[in-house]
């Protein structure tokens, strides 16, 4: 019994050492990966800030004003006027959809195939 226990303990110890060795390297590579990702996140954040700044710069009121003036012929944009407020009732509603049937109905009896169900279809 005793030798068996000794061998078993030794084997367990070796297995644990192997596990700890692998864990150590796995941890180190995970840390390296985290650092890489963090650097990438930082770079992307920096790029995002720059793009936000550029977006704000391109949308600055002065430039939009000039662009509207330059393209007045194509998009006649004018400042918002008080008269542009309207009641919902005054809004032009879309015209009623055109009728699907645009020729006189053929009133001849139709042949209908199928079975009339007793049950309520709804």
């Amino acid at each position: 019994m005793r030798p068996f226990l000794l061998v078993f303990t030794a084997l367990t110890l070796m297995a644990l050492a192997f596990w700890a060795y692998r864990e150590n390297y796995a941890t180190q590579s995970a840390l390296r990966e985290t650092q890489q990702l963090q650097t990438e996140v930082a770079q992307l954040r920096e790029a995002l800030t720059l793009q936000k700044a550029e977006w704000a710069y391109l949308n600055r009121p002065d430039r939009l004003h000039d662009l509207v003036a330059l393209n007045f012929e194509r998009l006649p944009l004018l400042p918002l006027e008080p008269g542009q407020f309207q009641a919902v009732a005054d809004l032009a509603m879309p015209p009623p959809p055109p009728s699907m049937i645009d020729r006189p109905l053929d009133l001849a009896p139709l042949d209908v195939q199928g079975i009339l169900s007793e049950e309520d279809p709804l």
Binding site: E46, L50, A53, A56, D62, L80, P82, F85
Partner: protein, 593 residues
Amino acid sequence: MIRAPLRPLARILQARAKGENPDVIERENLRLRAEATRDRARARAEGRLVILGFAFFCAFSVIGLRMGVLASTEPVEPKAASSGAEILTLRSDIVDRNGRLLATNMVTSALYAHPRQMIDPARVAAELTVIFPDMNAEDLQRRFTDGRSFMWLRRKLSPEQVQAVHDIGDPGLLFGPREMRLYPNGRMAAHVLGGASFGAEGVNAAEVIGTAGIEKALDRRLRDPALAATPLRLSLDLTIQAATTEILQAGMAIMNAPGATAILMDAHTGEVISLVSLPDFDPNDRPANPTSGDPADSPLFNRAMQGVYELGSAFKIFAAAQAMELGLVNKDTMVNSNAPLVWGKFRIREFKDKNYGTLSVRDIIVLSSNVGSAKLGLMIGGERQQAFLKSLGFFDATSLELIEAARAKPLIPARWPEIVTITSSYGHGMSASPMHLAAGYAAIANGGVTVTPTLLKRDRVPEGTRVLSPAVARTSIDMLRGVVTDGTASFGEVEGYEVAGKTGTANKPRKGGGYYEDKNINTFAAMFPASDPKYVLVVTLYEPVDTSGTQPHRTAGWTTVPVAAEIIRRVAPLLGLRPIEPLAQDVLVPAGN
């Protein structure tokens, strides 16, 4: 355990036989027993001490070993610590009330030189002047070769410039990372934002500090690492700010005014929606503070806050409102307004030496009678007048979150004789900024409860103090509405928005004392719509002249009021205010039972 008997019979009998005292034996035995007990206790205590000493020894060894390990290893930051936005941005962004960017940070480079490591200083100096035309090649070469080991060349470089400097290819030219403040909208809201520059500078980093405006006033908040990722949200609306600036700029040009300011404020929350002061500047390239001349002529001068002047007749409504609040008059009370009013050595006159005779309180406001207001002021009395103006905030600097606000205190006479009571009732003799006036009008528009102006978007409005009863505030608004419909501000009518307001024309004070006859500071303080005031607008033009007619007009009614009306016409729809339909007079409304 069998204990040894204290009185062993054999020895007792022996002792008795010898005629000795047997008690001696008992005492002897007792002594021996006590000694044995003592020895056992000592041994146990010694054992305990050894164990305790060993434990202490172990604990101190562990601490000592740990200290040794810490001292002998390289310091390394724990790698797994998360890095968020706070590490990247040192200063939080500033956005407007809708989240549009007003100020942000950009990563750039600073250029410095190690002249001793330079291979060819002459060539470097020549090539640097090609990239930066304002540098002087000879000067640079002299400084590169005078033996210094370090010098700054540029604080901020554009990416193109960085590349060009790289292309010089000299090891003595080095770059340091920099985070610079960027204002993408250029001149927009320049006086609010102020500007930023570098504080303590090192090769690897530089501190960005605010130099003026909200950047300086809220510097601590903007630099707080815990709040770096949360942008600072202002109450300004960029669209409305842009529209106001555009119209004010055009109005300033038409009215030949060298300066102008406009404040648009939410009458109920005190949020400043737009604050324009012209001329303005570009905060990205903030000009240096003026060292000579009048600081008020510099574009850095924030007229809305720092322009502390006598604001004139716009103050009359405060006298009228207070007189009504105190129950001294109502809007129809007739007041003897015969001009001129002689008070000691002073003569109070009307505009163009008119004489209105006896006027109702409403007409004093509508026709802007100095004498009538003076009479109201005298009825109120100096002490009560001071207390009222103080409660409206005219005696203290405004609470606005700008560094300039705290420094721009109103000019209040030290003593308050009756002549000051008279002049203050029509806006002379004491000076305040347009922002003070806006806060005062907001109190009337808010139904008589004061509001605290702010530049930050508010979620919760701090409770103000009631200075006027709702009924008096209502009557005051109706009187101001009368000024526009049949008084001095007739150009202020904007269809659908029921503008109510009061003009103010004051002569500009001379540097040495006295006033300029032909230089005015014209103010129009307005609120709209009159039936339920939501916004307060104060427009001030400095030294305007309307030259469109045959003779020049310098009063507020001719100069500032049309500009203010145009601002309201343009801005009110942007604020989402629907024009109010004029009520048809002949429609009978059936009474509900």
